[in-house]
Every structure is written in C-alpha cells, then in structure tokens.
C-alpha cells in the first residue's frame, strides 16, 4: 500500500504557472480547461496591512471523495495507491462528480464528452518519474511522495512540519494535498481559498425522490406476486376450464 500525496510550499510559489502549462502540455488538456491551477487569494485587509497568498491547486485525491459517491457508473474510483482516477471507458459524461467536487478539480472534456482530471500523473509516476507539475516547478514548491512511507519527504513535511490539507467546514474529505509556508499565508489560504458547496443538480434530486418510490413499487409488485403464487400452490390446480 501506498498513499501518494503532494505538499505545496506556498512560500516558494511565485505564481509563474509553469505547472499549469506543463500539465496541459503533458496531458493534452484542451484549451480553456485545466487540471490544475494557481489562484491568487486576496489582497485582504486595509492598506498598508494587505495580505495575500497564492493558491496552487489540483485534485486533492481525497481519502473519502464525494465525487465517487455520486458516480453512477463507477467510472470514478480510488486506486490502491490512493489516487482518485477516472476510467474514461466507463464514464458517461454526466458530470455529477464535477458538481460534487468542492475544489472544482474536474471538467468535462469537450471533445471526448467524458470527465477529465488530475491523476497525480499516474502513468509518469508508475514509470518512475515525477508528476509533470513537480518536475517543472522552478521554485521546488511542490513535493510529491508516499505518505505511508515514514522515510519520505512528504511524510516529514506533513507529520513533522505540520503541512495541512485544505479543509473547511463540511469540506473535510481527507485531502492528500497539503499546504505549508508562512503561517499567516497558510491561514489566509485555508480561510479564503474558493471552495464550492457540493452542488446537487435537479436531476439528482429527482432521482433521490424516485429511487425509494421505485423500490416500493417493485417491492410491492414482487410481494403481491409471491403471495399470489403461494395462494395458488395451497389451493392447487383448478378443475380444467370452468
């Protein structure tokens, strides 16, 4: 077992977006879409006490991801190394998962019609390389590794240096991406980084109402038929054609 994780040192991040470009190039991400991002938070406060922070982000590869719960076809899954992946052959492109992700880490590929997202560069990592964004980062703000391995750098940063996941309120799904840096900035990021409430489309709500109804209908139908069958067994075959 392994649990891949990433630590982002926002002190070092200079908002150059090389990571975003590297990712796009590596995975042929279509124009106008992106698997990762660097956003600016702030400035907040009053001059001259302005505070701001950068918010580099990507799929947080949550331990208990809300996107998996809503995926009707089971296309979205967590692999044995803790990565949240999409089997695009199974994906039907409904986007329930994209609505469920509080980080906005998923988009529907405009040409393929299926969901696309950060894979922690699964093919590269499995081939022994680093993720493209990590390799590219000039400031070495990104550290990738196995959180289950006590000798790893990410282990040290998370468990000894206190890197924290971006959780807030109900958005608390065990993210595998952690932030560290100057305390004030990290706090600002945790407080202000844009998170979405899990959206639930009307279609999903309709299904929530109909599922129990259908269950009851099918259940009653089955029950009725069973009772009738038993009744017939007890009564025995009637005299022919009366």
């Amino acid at each position: 077992m392994a649990r891949y994780a990433m630590v982002l040192n926002i002190d070092r991040c200079v908002d150059c977006k090389a990571c975003v470009i590297a990712c796009k190039a590596e995975w042929n991400v279509p124009e106008g879409y992106s698997r990762d991002w660097v956003k600016e938070i702030g400035p907040v406060g009053e001059f001259p006490n302005l505070k701001s922070a950068v918010y580099p982000g990507l799929c947080m590869h949550c331990e208990d991801p809300p996107c998996i719960k809503v995926c009707p076809s089971g296309a979205t899954y967590k692999d044995e190394k803790g990565r949240v992946l999409v089997d695009q052959e199974l994906c039907i492109g409904c986007g329930y998962c994209a609505d469920a992700c509080p980080y906005g880490a998923r988009y529907i590929h405009p040409d393929l019609g299926v969901v696309d997202k950060c894979t922690f560069c699964q093919p590269r990592v499995d081939a022994g390389l680093e993720p493209a964004c990590v390799e590219t980062c000039i400031a070495e703000a990104r550290i990738f590794g196995d959180l289950d391995d006590p000798d790893s750098e990410v282990y040290r940063l998370v468990y000894k240096e206190g890197a924290v996941p971006l959780h807030r309120g109900e958005v608390n799904y065990g993210a595998s991406v952690f932030y560290m840096g100057e305390k004030e900035q990290v706090e600002l990021l945790l407080e202000k980084a844009p998170l979405r409430k899990t959206r639930f489309s009307t279609a999903g709500t309709v299904w929530r109402i109909f599922r129990p109804l259908l269950g009851v209908a099918a259940g009653l139908s089955f029950l009725g038929v069973t009772v009738a069958a038993i009744y017939q067994l007890i009564k025995g075959e009637p005299k022919i054609e009366e």
Binding site: I68, P72, S73, G74, E89, A98, S201, A218, Q232, E241
Partner: protein, 276 residues
C-alpha cells in the same frame, strides 16, 4: 357436435353459462392471436431484458444510484472480466435491440404497430371498471369482471408502461453511451433510464407471474408460442375480442361460401338452380 349455435353466443354482450356441447366446441376451436413476427419480437425482447437487467443492475454502482448489493455487482463484473467490458456488452446488446425493435416497428407500422396502439393504448369504460373490480377481487370481494378486448385492462396498462419504458430506455441509452448533449442532458438521461427500467420491472413481476405461473393464464402463454388461443379461454377472458373475431370469421366464411356458390353457378355446377 356441429349443432352448436354460435349465433346465440354472439348475440350476448357478455359471457353466459355454456352447454356442454358449446363448451366442447369452444375448447376445440382456436383463434389466431399472435402473428409470427410479434411472437418472435416478444421473446427476443424478453431475452434482451433478461440480459440488460442482469448487466445493468451491476453497472449502477454508486451510493447515490445503486440498488444491488456489492457482492452482486462484483460477481457480474467478474463474469465479464472488467467493468469496461460489462458496459461494452450492455451497450452492444442495447444497440442491437434498438435496431431490431425500430426496424420491426417501422416495417410493421401498418400491420402491427398502429393496430396495436389503437387497440391497446386506450382504456374504455369496461377497462376502467375492470381495473376497479379486479382490485376489489384481489381484496377478496366477489365482483363480476366486465368483458374485455384483445388484452385486458391490466395487460393494456403493462403494454403502455413497457413500450413507453422501452422508448425512454433506448433514447436515454444512446445519450449515455455516446455522451450526446451537455452534461446536464446526460444527468437527466441517467435518471430517466433508471426510472423507466424500474417502472417496467415493477410491472414485469406481475406480467411474468400471470404468464408463467398462474394456471388460468396458461392458454395465454401457449398463445405466445403457438400463436393460437382456444376459444373457450378467449370467450371467458377476452369476450369482446372473441366476439369480434368470431363475427369476422363467420362473415368471411359466409362471403367465401357465396363466392363459391356464384362461381359454381357460373360454371353450371349447380343443376337444381338451373332447373328453376
């Protein structure tokens, strides 16, 4: 044997007690109920439903949507190797099914599709009464069921649910398989796909029970195989249809007899008449 007076029975507007001779006559005579093509379409459709429900129930796999237990989902997935394979077969069979049904309905539009819809997609007064009385009957009351047509009101309702469901399933299935339209469209397609399937399944329990289990309906099951149904069953269970078909049969027979007579006359094969 041939002394039975069918006219007497045709004059009534509901089944009446039968004499032993009448009963024997009806028991040994048959009416055609299903043509070969609808018969095969029905069994093809039933087989496809079996397969699609089997694979589909394992494809729905999320806390929000699924209704089968994990062991079932895993078992079916393993049977097909991977879940991607499972989906491929589900889609493939769905496409073949859609093509067969659409071709069937289009080619049979005059002979089967439109007559079927005309006959079975409207409920008349007797049908409504039948539904009410049938309900009361199940609750244990002794009430008379009004005479029924080719299909009784319950069968009509199921036909509507099944055919409506099939149309929805095909359309939404294509939307999901080929990611047609926006994500919002696909979201609704999923919901309707499941509602349609669930609705038909609810009806299907009763449908299969009636056909395969209930003694009284065994002639109906036989009719889906041989195409014919004995008249005694038709007389009791589908009186209005029996009357219609019987009248038609007698009319046709009468016409044929006349035509034959005329021809015979022309050819001089009826000497007595010539003597007049």
């Amino acid at each position: 044997m041939q002394q039975v007076n069918i006219e007497r029975l045709l004059k009534q507007d509901k089944p009446v007690p039968l004499s032993p001779e009448e009963k024997e006559y009806l028991r040994t005579h048959y009416l055609k109920k299903h043509d070969v093509i609808p018969k095969w379409t029905h069994w093809f459709n039933a087989a496809v439903w079996g397969f699609q429900l089997f694979t589909g129930s394992a494809l729905i796999n999320s806390t929000l949507f699924k209704f089968m237990p994990d062991w079932w989902i895993n078992m079916v997935s393993e049977l097909f190797g991977t879940r991607a394979n499972l989906l491929k077969y589900h889609i493939l069979v769905g496409i073949i099914w859609s093509v067969v049904l659409v071709v069937n309905y289009l080619f049979g539009i005059k002979n089967y599709t439109i007559p079927f819809i005309r006959r079975n997609f409207v409920l008349d007064r007797d049908d409504i009464l039948w539904l009410i009385n049938r309900g009361l009957g199940i609750l244990g009351m002794k009430v008379e069921l009004p005479p029924q047509g080719e299909y009784n009101a319950g069968q009509k309702l199921f036909a509507m649910v099944a055919i409506g469901g099939i149309i929805i399933l095909i359309i939404t299935g294509f939307i999901m398989s080929f990611h047609i339209g926006s994500a919002e469209t696909v979201k609704w397609a999923i919901v309707f796909h499941f509602i349609a399937a669930g609705g038909v399944v609810a009806g299907l329990f009763v449908h299969i029970f009636m056909a395969a289990v209930l003694w009284e309906e065994h002639p109906s099951l036989a009719s889906m195989i041989t195409g014919k149904v004995n008249e005694l069953y038709a007389y009791h269970n589908h009186f209005k249809w029996w009357k219609e078909m019987k009248k038609l049969e007698l009319e046709v027979r009468e016409r044929e007899r006349k035509e034959y007579e005329e021809k015979a006359k022309e050819m001089g094969l009826l000497p007595e008449e010539e003597n007049n």
